[in-house]
């Protein structure tokens, strides 16, 4: 790995996350992939190790770092299991709307428990008919006195059912289209808020993906984040910050598969030699490693830009990091299966899981096609001088 000149504290985070990955995640990754059991034990270890607060201000009980610290942790966990890693990272995604749009009272009320990992969070935007086109959202929030009444269904919600705190996007004024959406904090157990089916997925199977159902769900009006109508712009700001985390998940998955491929290539003998002595395999490994390193460099650079607070238009760069890293993850994990040959296709060996886990990184938090739109729009805006 290139020396990214990380601080001592960032190196410490990496070491700690690597230890958790080696001692806690790797031994159970295959089993949880099979059983789809939510990794609560591991979430507790991460919580006790102060890792849920990495990107949160110290005044709310966090460690005072940023998206780079979150990315380093997510990358390390993903080397062991992309599914377990996303349970961790999705809680950050659910927390970011409160950090970005929340009032001081809302932050004081919700952030300390999230920073301590006592509660997990989840972000609810996707609906059956509103994926890339979030403006097609049907979930509504109608103000009634000092309450909002929520009605509608969110689906494909990571950490759904397991999280305690949900940040949910709903239409407060449908006539205004995308300017009529708002984000609310909804606590698990609120009457009228239930969970639907848990999805049976191709990959990241240790994570929970669930439906959220709202039927006349009353929440206090003070649970509105920011102002009415800030829902879409708020969600975009959340994704601008969260995308390097998905990039980091992709880098971790790719690196994990590459590590297995290198080890296997050295051990596997064919034609009387280890297959790592064949140039065909060597060139594959060289390309894989180069791509992973390029992806990592882009993810770290964009995470640093997000954290620096210097530039405003970091969204297109964080889109690049997610786009590139996830495409690399898909390619590298596919090549890792190829290097394992027939064994790679078998569940008895670890690499097919990396390939299954990699696929989602090209789809969620905005498909890679949407990422390209964001990047292109950014380019055109820049050229237009706005």
């Amino acid at each position: 790995m290139i020396n990214y000149l990380l601080t001592e504290e960032q190196e410490m985070i990496r070491d700690l996350c690597r230890q958790i990955t080696d001692e806690k995640i790797r031994p159970v990754a295959a089993e949880l992939d099979k059983t789809e059991e939510f990794p609560w034990e591991i979430m507790k270890v991460m919580a006790k190790s102060d890792l849920f607060g990495l990107y949160i201000d110290e005044k709310y009980g966090g460690m005072g770092g940023g998206i780079l610290e979150l990315s380093i942790a997510t990358e390390e966990f993903s080397k062991g299991c992309g599914g377990i890693a996303i349970c961790y990272a999705a809680s950050a995604l659910g927390t970011l709307p409160i950090l970005i749009l929340g009032s001081e009272e809302q932050k004081q009320k919700y952030i300390p428990d999230l920073a301590a990992g006592k509660h997990l969070a989840a972000f609810g935007i996707t609906e059956p008919a509103a994926g890339s086109d979030a403006s097609a959202m049907q979930t509504t929030a109608v103000k009634k006195g000092d309450k909002y009444i929520l009605n509608g269904t969110k689906h494909f919600i990571t950490n759904g059912g397991e999280a305690e705190i949900y940040t949910v996007v709903a239409m407060t004024d449908k006539s205004k289209g995308s300017r009529g959406a708002s984000i609310f904090i909804v606590e698990k157990g609120t009457p009228g808020f239930t969970f639907g089916k848990k999805e049976d997925k191709l990959g990241i199977r240790a994570s929970a993906t669930n439906e959220l159902n709202f039927v006349d769900c009353e929440i206090p009006a003070e649970n509105l984040l920011g102002k009415e109508g800030q829902g879409f712009i708020g969600a975009m700001r959340v994704f601008d910050k969260s995308r390097p985390g998905i990039g980091a998940q992709a880098v971790g998955i790719a690196q994990g598969a590459l590590d297995h491929a290198i080890r296997y290539a050295r051990e596997r003998k064919q034609f009387g030699k280890s297959i790592s002595s064949f140039q065909g395999i060597q060139f594959m490994l060289a390309d894989m490693a180069t791509q992973v390193e390029a992806a990592r460099a882009l993810v770290y650079a964009s995470a640093r830009e997000v954290d620096s607070g210097v530039t405003k238009n970091y969204g297109m760069h964080s889109a690049m990091s997610k786009l590139y890293a996830s495409d690399v993850a898909m390619k590298v994990t596919t090549d890792a299966v190829q290097i394992f040959g027939g064994y790679g296709y078998m569940k008895e060996y670890p690499v097919e899981k990396y390939m299954r886990d990699a696929k989602i990184t090209q789809i969620y938090e905005g498909t890679n096609q949407i990422q390209r739109s964001i990047i292109a729009l950014g380019l055109i805006k820049e050229a237009a001088g706005s």
């Binding site: 001592e8 504290e9 410490m12 985070i13 700690l16 958790i20 006790k48 190790s49 102060d50």
Partner: protein, 260 residues
Amino acid sequence: MNIIVCIKQVPDTTQVKIDPKTNTLIREGVESIINPFDMYAIEEGVRLKEKFGGKVIAITMGPPQAEAALREAISLGCDDGILVSDRAFAGSDTLATSYTLAMAVKKIETFDIIICGKQASDGDTAQVGPGIAAHLNIPQVTYVKHIKEADEEAITVERMTEEGSEILRSPLPCLITVVKEINEPRIPSLKGKMKAKKAELTCWKAIDIDCDDERLGLNGSPTQVVRIFTPPPRAQGEILEGDPQETTSKLVEMLKDSIQ
């Protein structure tokens, strides 16, 4: 409750190689870790502190680089670390080591329990823990796998024996050595690691502890290492075949022969 945990820095045994000529450890390039059994001692000490309050002090005798072991102990929840280090300690066997550590422990004003790992993974003697208790003239319980009860006066523990286990009660202060069945050591917290990095460790030399120079280091070590060798792999056993009557008589004959 004040607890002292004695730890040792050892080469990581998963990486260790033996020099076939000298039969000694090749230490170059091998990472140092806390003796694995001592990790259980640290965890048990920290758990006792979490339950009863008080302090956990980690103590180690070793070269200056053993400081890293103390910092790791602090990252895992110990409050302080004491490094007992002096050229005069070089060449200590288990007698001199346990004497030196006992004298250092005496300098720590009050303590209720001393916890050691059952043995170190490099020497495998299991003598230093009991030695410390003997030098301090306090009760000791070895191979503890569970602390059943503890209060300010006494401790009730279950210790492993070859046949099973025993439940013993000892007044405090006492020394226990622990086996790996006792707990599952935690993973450090980030705050713990940061605290450990900044922690100011105490370093005691021979003159800082009230000890008899003749009992330190090589002078105080009656152990003579005559020869170190890698034992030959166990030879294959002999299998007696035939009907039980026949093989039993043959076995009895063979046993008789081997005694003579």
